[in-house]
């Protein structure tokens, strides 16, 4: 009886979606040659996939409801993955293998792979930075890419005009990005979550449009070329050596980020962020300075984006405003959401999954943004805590 009801429901939903997608998926008008293409096979695909999809959707919803009931009884339990991770017998060998793999990676694989890995590591850093703002402080920042642009352009322009090198610009860009973060953060402090999202989005677009239109300053849409790669004590390096060097620079920066973010999370300011995220008014009542806490979140988040931007500029040796669209911000947001807001391990795995998978599954690369969209919605509906849930430090009492 139940099965029949479910089948009927799935059937109805699939019919509804076939109706819904009919004009856009089935008909394509070629306005140049005035021909109309009828793509009926698309309708069949939609019919079958929504039939299965809707069954899966309802099954997952019922699972979620059940697990919520169980979780309400015993909150704060770790996932099996995290249990394995905290087990020392497992943890040390795994760490050892990981270190070995990370060190030998650029020597084992081709330069192409190393370049992809560098990109993935930049995204890890960006994800960890955005994680401070979104995951810890709960401020939805859709203009994060603006700080990335600030970093990249500070390197590009400082190098172009004053000939400053990679290592000098790295801290300067970090400071400039942090200042930009404060500059943006200050006026929007009073805004609530949803307004904040729109204003930061607007800010990101303003930066991009200014870079595009203000040709004398930023060289306009044609961008800045011939940006030098990172250097090591002035030694001349071949392209291969330089890629390997960039890879290790990036590994170092990521380790530094992980270290700082991890220390921040359990510090006074980190706990203030989490408190702010949970309840702003209660948090103020406990004596936390809201303005300062939010501003530090913005500034510290932006710092990593600034440094990421410098590495990006150095790696590609060419930047233009097209690299800093709003969708870049959305991808970074996807990384944080997929991995698990607030969880460092989660964000790292989210970044690796979302940057490496599209690279290796080239066949699906055009569907990448489509899948990201579906992912954002379904993660929010079924698993808002992400792949790896952030486990907060808790005190446990052992019975003696």
């Amino acid at each position: 009886m139940n099965v029949r009801g479910e089948l009927k429901k799935s059937f109805q939903i699939s019919a509804w979606f076939m109706f819904l997608t009919f004009p856009i998926l089935v008909i394509r008008v070629n306005t140049v040659e005035n021909v109309i293409e009828w793509r009926w096979y698309n309708m069949a695909i939609v019919g079958v996939s929504t039939f299965l999809g809707s069954a899966l959707w309802r099954y997952l919803l019922s699972v979620k409801e059940k697990s919520q009931r169980i979780n309400a009884a015993s909150p704060g339990n770790m996932t099996s993955f995290q249990k394995a991770f905290s087990d020392k017998r497992f943890f040390y060998p795994a760490l050892f293998i990981l270190i070995g793999f990370v060190i030998s990676f650029p020597f084992l694989f081709s330069m192409y792979q190393a370049n992809i890995m560098i990109t993935a590591l930049i995204y890890v850093m960006l994800g960890l930075g955005l994680n401070i703002v979104v995951g810890l402080a709960g401020l939805l920042d859709l203009g994060y890419v603006a700080f990335y642009a600030v970093g990249a352009y500070s390197y590009g322009l400082l190098n172009f005009h004053f000939g400053l090198g990679f290592w000098t610009t790295l801290p300067i860009a970090a400071i400039l990005a942090a200042l930009a973060g404060i500059l943006l953060g200050y006026p929007v402090l009073r805004l609530r979550g949803d307004y904040l999202a729109i204003v930061t989005l607007g800010f990101g677009e303003i930066i991009r449009l200014v870079l595009e239109n203000w040709g004398e300053f930023s060289h306009g849409p044609s961008g800045i070329a011939n940006i030098p790669r990172p250097s090591l004590l002035g030694i001349d390096m071949t392209l291969t050596q330089n890629t390997i060097f960039t890879y290790f620079v990036m590994i170092g920066l990521v380790l530094f980020t992980i270290f700082v973010v991890n220390r921040l999370q359990n510090s006074r300011i980190g706990r203030a962020w989490i408190a702010l995220r949970e309840d702003e008014i209660a948090c103020q009542a406990m004596g936390i300075d809201r303005t300062r806490t939010k501003l530090t979140a913005f500034a510290l988040g932006a710092t990593w984006a600034g440094m990421g931007g410098v590495v990006f500029a150095a790696k590609t040796t060419f930047i233009n405003p097209a690299s800093f669209t709003i969708w870049e911000s959305v991808i970074i947001l996807c990384i944080v959401v997929l991995g698990g807001m607030g969880s460092i391990l989660g964000v790292i795995s989210g970044a690796l999954v979302l940057t490496l998978l599209p690279e290796y599954l080239r066949a699906f690369s055009e569907y990448r943004m489509l899948i990201f969209g579906i992912m954002l919605v379904s993660m929010m509906v079924f698993r808002p805590e992400g792949i790896i849930r952030n486990v907060r430090r808790t005190y446990t009492f052992s019975k003696e």
Binding site: L25, V29, N42, G138, D194, Y195, L333, E366, L370, V377
Partner: protein, 302 residues
């Protein structure tokens, strides 16, 4: 001062503003009821325009009369936009009604991303020429350089949509239910209002006005692509915030103010920074008067 140029900008701003108003209504109605910024609203507008384009081309190909094509394309756009609005609410927002606001917002962004890419992949990434559905009337020819007959059609449609909407909200049962839900959702449910139905109706009505706006502006501008919904959506949102989000007369007023300021800004100062200007405007409103022109400031409770 050149008065004719001024008049042209004034009327251009009015047309622009009335299009923003048609889209802003959807934002403000949804926000009034479930306090969520429906990021995918601009995409609904875009889907309306695309549906109209496809239907109009197919019918034109079949050799139908011009008026019939325009009406059928408009009707199809409204029906499909409503269907999309309804489906989006059921998929992306309904399961998250009691979740933290951040979750619903991220889900809305995901939906917007999905719809954009869906149209991009199913149709084309290029700009498509949009057939002019509203003809140029001959008797209006002498005045057409000040305001074209298309612009008049836009203004007339907007005004009639506004009147219909006001009547619906003020005098019908469902309108009363919508106002009750906007005031207090739990209390409305307790006195027997079907909340789910009210929310669905809100989404459907908002989508219908967005579709009307989409078809009108697409036929005015003459070309569309999958990305038009994003900027239009942001601007309509700016207008809704300017007027006071959640307030329907506010949305209309805000849209007109935004339309005029944009029109004069691009007419007298610079057109390069048109979009920058809209965003700056938004930031300034939110800093100095976050509740908007007609909005009430609300106190937050723990």
């Amino acid at each position: 001062m050149d008065w004719e140029y001024f008049l042209e900008l004034l009327l251009g701003g009015l047309t622009r503003g009335s299009i923003y108003a048609l889209i802003a209504l959807g934002y403000t109605m949804v926000y009034g009821i479930i306090e969520l910024i429906n990021f995918a609203h601009g995409e609904i507008y875009m889907i309306g325009a695309f549906t109209a384009l496809i239907v109009a081309s197919v019918l034109n190909y079949a050799g139908m009369n011009h008026v019939a094509v325009a009406i059928l394309a408009m009707v199809a756009a409204i029906i499909y936009s409503c269907a999309y609005g309804f489906a989006i609410e059921k998929i992306a927002y309904k399961p998250l009604r009691n979740a933290p606001r951040l979750s619903a917002l991220i889900s809305a962004i995901g939906m917007s991303l999905f719809l954009q890419n869906y149209v991009l992949l199913a149709q084309t990434p290029d700009f498509l020429p949009f057939p002019s559905l509203i003809p140029d009337f001959d008797f209006w020819e002498p005045y057409a350089h000040i305001i074209s007959s298309q612009e008049i059609a836009i203004l007339a449609t907007t005004v009639s949509v506004m009147i219909l909407l006001t009547v619906m909200i003020k005098f019908t049962i469902i309108g009363k239910a919508m106002r009750a839900t906007a005031q207090d959702r739990i209390m409305a449910a307790l006195v027997g209002v079907d909340i789910n139905r009210v929310i669905s109706v809100t989404f459907v009505v908002g989508s219908a006005t967005a579709a009307i706006g989409g078809v009108l502006i697409a036929s005015h501008v003459g070309q569309i692509n999958f990305y038009i919904g994003f900027i239009a959506g942001i601007k309509a949102f700016v207008a809704a915030v300017l007027g006071g989000i959640g307030s329907i007369p506010g949305a209309v007023l805000g849209s007109l103010v935004l339309g005029w300021t944009e029109s004069f800004f691009t007419g007298y100062i610079s057109s390069d920074y048109e979009d920058v200007f809209a965003f700056l405007f938004l930031v300034l409103i939110l800093i100095f008067r976050p509740s908007g022109i007609l909005g009430r400031s609300e106190t937050q409770k723990v």
